[in-house]
């Protein structure tokens, strides 16, 4: 379910007409790495969605203080082994407050996934559009965009966020604000990578051919360049994600983070720093979640990349009907007909 969302929400997949997307989808499905990554991701999303249920199953909530479960004299280290792991608190409790870590972790998934995925989408979309425009446009456009990017990059997050806070009304939803701040600040890398690749790609004959076919720059970008740009962009985006999780935490210092007592992995990780010797569990949990997310996106990113590259796909023998078996008699007609339907 989520993988499909990811795919269709992915600008890369959306560019090829339906038949192409279907083939890419088929090749994606054929890869164990994609399945593994997708499954983990689905699981994470389920966890986030079912956070209240999961916490209820444990019998805890993420905000209740358990002062008795921490040793106040030693700074608030949870009492008991492994950060206070017990039947009541499956993953132990938060040092200092005694709040249930399992509950905080699953609730944290909501904010972290939403903000990081949302911000990554914003970054990738802006980066792609501006990078392509700079790479394909005339000299003036390229210069203007390059300079705009430079200005954006040189502007410190700090100044930007502070100025933004002065403008944004206080009632503005925090996760959305976070998503926007991170997204609007972090597209420079994608834009640069896309522009660089575009400069290399646009000298190819097939781009010339597309221009002759009456395609405008925009169409050329979408149809001819995007599939080739997908590789670096998807790879890069998969890595933007974890840094966005961490950025979310960093922004709380500027007053644009999620409001306490809402938990997020980034926030947990930030406050865990001082604890990592006294209560390693506390650092380990959010780190592990972020790592798992990173890994699943990296796997998925690789798989998407492979699925988008027909040569790699045939090297790995992906997307054949039934491997080894003879093609079904209606095989030839099936694909185009389906494609027509999907495109209509």
């Amino acid at each position: 379910m989520s993988t499909e969302q990811l795919l269709t929400g992915d600008p890369v997949a959306a560019v090829s007409p339906a038949a192409g997307a279907r083939q890419v989808w088929r090749r994606l499905r054929a890869q164990p790495a994609a399945l593994a990554g997708g499954a983990v991701l689905v699981l994470l999303i389920l966890i986030a969605a079912a956070a209240p249920l999961l916490a209820a199953a444990e019998g805890q909530d993420p905000t209740t203080y358990h002062d008795a479960l921490v040793n106040s004299a030693s700074g608030g280290v949870p009492t008991g082994p492994f950060g206070g792991v017990s039947g009541a608190h499956w993953l132990g409790v938060e040092p200092g407050t005694g709040r249930d870590l399992f509950a905080r972790l699953v609730y944290g998934a909501q904010v972290s996934l939403l903000v990081s995925v949302g911000a990554t989408v914003v970054q990738v979309v802006i980066g792609l559009v501006l990078g392509l425009a700079a790479g394909l446009g005339n000299r003036l456009l390229d210069q203007v965009l390059a300079h705009t990017t430079d200005v954006m990059l040189a502007l410190p997050t700090l100044v930007f966020a502070i100025a933004l806070m002065a403008i944004v009304p206080a009632g503005f939803p925090r996760p959305l604000l976070l998503m926007l701040v991170i997204g609007l600040l972090g597209w420079g890398g994608t834009a640069r990578v896309v522009r660089a690749q575009t400069l290399s790609l646009k000298s190819l004959d097939y781009v010339a051919a597309a221009r002759l076919g009456g395609s405008g720059a925009w169409r050329v970008a979408r149809r001819e360049l995007l599939p080739s740009l997908a590789a670096p962009v998807v790879t890069y985006a998969a890595l933007l994600l974890p840094s966005n999780v961490v950025s979310e935490a960093g922004l709380s210092f500027l007053g644009v983070g999620v409001r306490p007592p809402t938990s997020s992995w980034g926030q947990m990780l930030t406050s865990a720093t001082t604890w990592f010797q006294a209560d390693p569990m506390y650092v380990l949990l959010p780190s592990l979640m972020i790592f798992i997310t990173t890994l699943s996106f990296a796997l998925l990113g690789d798989a998407v990349r492979t699925a988008l590259d027909p040569r790699a796909a045939s090297r790995l023998r992906l997307g054949g009907r039934r491997r080894g078996a003879a093609p079904p008699p209606d095989g030839g007609a099936g694909a185009p007909a389906g494609g027509t339907e999907a495109a209509a």
Binding site: A210, G213, G214, A217, R223, G320, R323, P327, P336, G339
Partner: protein, 590 residues
């Protein structure tokens, strides 16, 4: 089938040594292929490109593999170098090269086989070279892999072989990157790379498709010389029977992955046994015979005496495209090269203008300027009465679809990540006039017309043979129903029957739609067949221009005369005689 296999080889003495046996003293024939099967998986199930092929080739002998486009020739050639591994292809049978089984060899054996024992000349020269490195460096690199020569020595060798394949000013040109070379020059560079390593077997896949006849002759001579000098074997894959006639001892005719006929070149070309072979030979176009075309309109056969006459014609309103003093320079300062140097021409509505000329004479550059893919450095270009030479991309939009081009390099002109159907459909979709169903129907129709299976709509470029890709390129150029198509070597990789079909198709369209063509080709025979008028180019300038028959029958410029004399002939004996004649005064092979 194994009977004829042993009959072809010269030094046959029993079966080849097994894989892993020392190749240096391999007692068997140089190449021995048995029951080779190659199958590619595709979206529509596996494609069997080679289907139980067996043959052998003795040391120092030359075997030509001919056959229609897509018959599996390149696939066999790839097999000999073990290039199917890791591509997803399933391979069966065996292919021994100097005792090493190319299909199973590993490690050092494989490395020695590749480049050391056998060297390959690839069919698509542009894509075969690394765009990032100087051509000379690339040659030097492969040379060093096999000889451990010093860097400087390897560079010297690179310049030497480049010079040998006829790259002018080789020392300087060796420092250029592939994109600075013309198509023909790239092809020669690829051949030079193969020669550099002094292999025992040269596998040449369409080595001369992009070469004009003089250079082609020169290259074929070179291959011949090499064979006699070093005793290397040659496996020549080509669709051009003329080339085969002069360069090989034996011929293998392929069709749909199987051998149709084999024998010595005299037998196969002189007295073909199979009907298929006879058809092939009959379809070969001839430069010395006027085209049997339907008579054109009056203006198409007008006499052109000079540039002034062209202008007068233009005033008549029939002129579609008119170039005056077109010029294009590459590079800057000292490295400035005028690729096209003041060319004026006109193309009338429904007319075909043939452009011939030696490799690197600026044909492609001229063609690209005519469709405004590149902006001329100087000169004017009028299309339908409107000056388009220096318009920006936006102002060009309305005329874009009316001016199309078939690109010289079919590989780089197709997006590897898009199915060919979508590539062809793109102009139709961009126009937005048709719905998806009609677009697909139209693309299928186009595929069918260029001789491709409409069911291949969803296949990707890498799943096609060289000739098939070229046809995809033609189909794409025709899709938007253009007014003028610049065809840059559109049929160079096609076997004669397919070639005849394509030429026929273009003629039909011309009649139906009044299409104008600029037909760039090195193959003088084809040009004569299709063109109303011919333009002969050399070093960026037009040296001769006139009605096709006039130019072919009474060429005025010595260069044109030379070109016509170099056209290969089908008769092996005649070819041999010509070669000997050329050897007298030709460039000394160093």
């Amino acid at each position: 089938m194994s009977d004829s296999a042993s009959g072809v080889g010269a030094g046959v003495s029993g079966a080849g040594a097994g894989p892993g046996a020392g190749a240096a003293a391999a007692p068997g024939p140089l190449v021995e292929v048995r029951d080779l099967v190659v199958e590619f998986p595709t979206g529509e199930g596996p494609v069997r490109a080679v289907d139980g092929l067996s043959f052998a080739l003795g040391a120092g002998r030359a075997l030509g593999i001919v056959g229609e486009s897509g018959s599996g020739k390149s696939t066999v050639a790839f097999g000999l170098l073990g290039l199917h591994r890791d591509t997803g292809a399933r391979v069966g049978g065996s292919a021994l090269v100097a005792g090493v089984d190319a299909l199973t060899a590993e490690g050092d054996d494989l490395r020695r086989l590749r480049g050391g024992l056998a060297a390959m000349v690839f069919q698509d020269p542009l894509s075969a070279l690394d765009p990032y490195y100087a051509v000379g460096d690339q040659i030097a690199e492969v040379y060093r892999v096999h000889t451990r020569a010093a860097r400087a020595a390897a560079r010297a060798r690179a310049v030497e072989v480049l010079d040998r394949v006829g790259i002018p000013d080789a020392a300087r040109r060796s420092r250029a990157r592939p994109h600075e070379f013309s198509g023909g020059m790239r092809q020669r560079a690829v051949i030079a790379m193969a020669l550099a390593c002094r292999p025992r077997l040269l596998v040449a896949d369409e080595p001369t498709t992009a070469l004009d006849v003089t250079v082609q002759a020169q290259i074929l001579d070179l291959l011949h010389e090499l064979r006699t000098e070093t005793g290397a074997g040659l496996l020549l894959v080509t669709h051009d029977l003329g080339v085969v006639a002069g360069s090989v001892d034996d011929v293998l005719v392929m069709r749909e992955g199987r051998a149709v006929e084999r024998g010595t070149v005299e037998e196969v070309l002189g007295a073909p046994r199979e009907a298929y072979t006879r058809e092939l030979i009959a379809a070969v176009p001839r430069a010395d015979v006027p085209a049997a075309r339907p008579v054109r309109t009056v203006e198409a056969v007008r006499e052109v005496r000079d540039g002034a006459a062209c202008a007068t014609d233009a005033a008549g309103g029939e002129v579609l495209l008119e170039a005056s003093g077109l010029r294009k320079e590459f590079g800057r300062g000292a490295g400035l090269v005028p690729a096209v140097d003041g060319v004026s021409l006109t193309v009338g509505r429904g007319e075909t203008l043939g452009v011939v000329g030696e490799s690197g004479s600026g044909k492609t550059t001229l063609g690209r300027m005519l469709v405004r893919l590149i902006e001329p450095s100087a000169g004017g270009l009028r299309y339908g009465g409107r000056e388009i030479g220096h318009l920006g991309e936006r102002q060009l939009r309305p005329v874009r679809r009316e001016l199309q081009m078939v690109f010289q390099d079919p590989v780089s002109s197709l997006n590897p990540r898009r199915s060919i159907g979508e590539s062809i459909a793109d102009p139709l979709r961009a126009a937005g006039a048709l719905d998806d169903r009609s677009v697909r129907a139209r693309v299928r129709e186009l595929l069918d017309r260029v001789g491709l299976d409409p069911a291949w709509y969803d296949r990707y470029p890498h799943e096609f043979s060289g000739g098939q890709r070229q046809r995809v390129g033609i189909a794409r150029a025709l899709a938007p129903e253009p007014k003028l198509v610049v065809c840059d070597e559109p049929v160079s990789a096609l076997d004669v029957t397919t070639q005849a079909n394509i030429v026929g198709l273009l003629g039909e369209l011309q009649r139906e739609l009044g299409l104008s063509l600029v037909f760039i080709a090195h193959d003088l025979a084809v040009v004569r067949q299709v063109s109303d008028r011919v333009l002969v180019m050399r070093a960026g300038r037009v040296v001769e221009e006139g009605p096709a028959d006039r130019v072919y029958e009474s060429p005025e410029h010595p260069y044109t005369k030379g070109l016509l004399a170099a056209v290969p002939v089908l008769d092996p004996a005649e070819s041999e005689a010509r070669r000997l004649a050329r050897a007298g005064g030709g460039p000394a092979a160093g």
